[in-house]
Amino acid sequence: MIHKELMTIISTNRIAEDSIEMVLKNPCISEIAIPGQFLHIRIGEKTLRRPISIADCNREQQTITIIFKINGAGTEELAMYRCGDVLDVLAPVGNGFSIDKESPSTILLVGGGIGVPPLYFLGKTLKDKGYTVVSVLGFQHKASVFYEDEFKALGETIIVTNDGSYGEKGFVTDVLDKVPTFDSYYSCGPIVMLKALSTKLAGKEGYLSLEERMGCGVGACFACVIPTKDGNGYKKICKDGPVFHAEEVSL
């Protein structure tokens, strides 16, 4: 169930070019949030809330971490919020990644840009459950890379930059041959990346976290629908997603 909660900003840091990491205090959400879910954040007087993934969650310290890129008026305003400021959020929103493998196995995480944050919370959770985690993270260039060490702490991690200014050069899909064999993959990033990836990994069991412009964020307005593969249905990204089985929806 979605709650409307107030979260106090207890830290805010610029961790990469135009990228902000914020740690938010909230007992209720930090207790129930699962990887892949997001916060629907009200910013100033903006008409629409902004969906931002839960990048980390600390049940003991009762904190939620978000990482967002300044991408327009709203995130620009959010970036100016300071410690002690209070955010009005709807949370936790969405279904999250389903972690259903019986026997702990090897999982590949593939993230692109602002799709990287939710994979960190997922990776940590998988590692805790005994899975082997391999990460491939794509960024624009060196300056936009973040959380490399954090992911390395979870397992093998390959960084890819479009211009090769750091790590491998190219797209995440260019380095898939470099990763060890894995049982299933979880990915979040731009639609073009998800398309290329799911085509390249067709047959493999995969889960994709999708993005779309949202209105309500709770499933009431039909703004964020995506057609299902069978052709005669649709899913709401905010409510039925944002995570879908790669076979389920047609990108």
Partner: protein, 304 residues
């Protein structure tokens, strides 16, 4: 104690507040936030003859104090709505208003008649802001004759009171209102969204896949107030007002302009509790401005 009750054709409202069509789905999602029995009524998402998948995405964009939407009447179709959605809402002690849409007179008639099969729906809101495919796609809602025609047909087909929802995208809103009143409308609902567009600078194309979308939110409130103020003096049937309502003060402004009840749309996205919050604030707001009841405030802002 101030009195919130309002009596309208087919609708005995415990308070004048209801979520606007398309901004509240069929109530399921918001029922997790508060008890829908608190609402004066619920206006359901548009119902069409058969299931519709609507427009491609993106379907929404944000504008200054407002938003654009081009959902495209996505809905499971009138039969499915009657089977699965209406019974859900019927559990709550509130009035159910079905918003009906179509691409032809026949479709409107079919949808209207279909709602005769359920005893849970109290009134129909006739959404005439739809293109008439048989007439080259011009909207029923922008032509008085076509608006009157669809109103007549729906009125004949249905045993429920009909609230015709007017489009603000017209030169003369009074002509439209008078035309549908004459055609048998029991009430009016206004305003629907104003057609707008936003262009993405880097992509160099409209943000909304449908190109244009309907502008809603606080930005359009002055247009809604103006149209309700003008129309309420020219017709005898009651008006359900809407357009940018965000607070109990806004509700009072609509009542003063001549609305008898008020629907809240876009504001639900900002605050899922908005309808509930407004209902809580309404008594003290009425008192603050020296009104004993909602009924007393209706039309009181009209200068004669």
């Amino acid at each position: 104690m101030t009195q919130l009750r309002v009596e309208l054709p087919g609708l005995s409202l415990k308070n004048p507040i209801m979520p606007a069509s398309g901004c509240f789905g069929f109530g399921r999602e918001y029922s997790e936030f508060y008890d829908l029995s608190k609402l004066g009524a619920v206006i359901m998402k548009a119902a069409t003859g058969s299931e519709r998948f609507g427009n491609p995405t993106p379907r929404v964009a944000e504008t200054a104090s407002g938003m654009l939407n081009a959902i495209g009447l996505q809905n499971p179709g009138v039969q499915k709505i009657i089977e699965t959605e209406v019974p859900f809402l019927a559990q709550y002690n509130t009035n159910i208003i079905a918003n009906i849409a179509g691409s032809s007179l026949e479709e409107y008639e079919y949808v209207a008649r279909s709602f005769n099969d359920t005893s849970f729906v109290h009134a129909l809101e006739l959404n005439i802001s739809c293109p008439n495919v048989k007439e080259g796609g011009i909207q029923f809602g922008t032509n008085p004759k076509m608006a009157a025609r669809v109103t007549e047909i729906v009125k004949k087909a249905s045993k429920l009171p009909i609230y015709v929802k007017l489009s603000p995208n017209v030169t003369n809103i009074i002509d439209m209102a008078k035309a549908v009143e004459k055609a048998g409308a029991d009430g009016l609902s206004m305003i629907n969204t104003i057609t707008g567009m936003q262009i993405h600078l880097t992509e160099r194309k409209p943000i909304i896949a449908n190109k244009t979308g309907g502008l809603s939110g606080a930005a359009i409130k002055p247009v809604a107030i103006r149209m309700i103020y003008e129309v309420s003096q020219q017709v005898k049937i009651p008006i359900i007002g809407m357009g940018g309502v965000q607070s109990a003060e806004d509700v009072l402004e609509f009542l003063l302009a001549g609305a008898s009840a008020v629907a809240v749309g876009t504001a639900n996205f900002q605050n899922p509790f908005i309808c509930s919050d407004i209902i809580d604030a309404l008594p003290s707001t009425l008192e603050k401005y020296d009104f004993q009841s909602v009924q007393e405030a209706i039309g009181k802002g009209i200068l004669v």
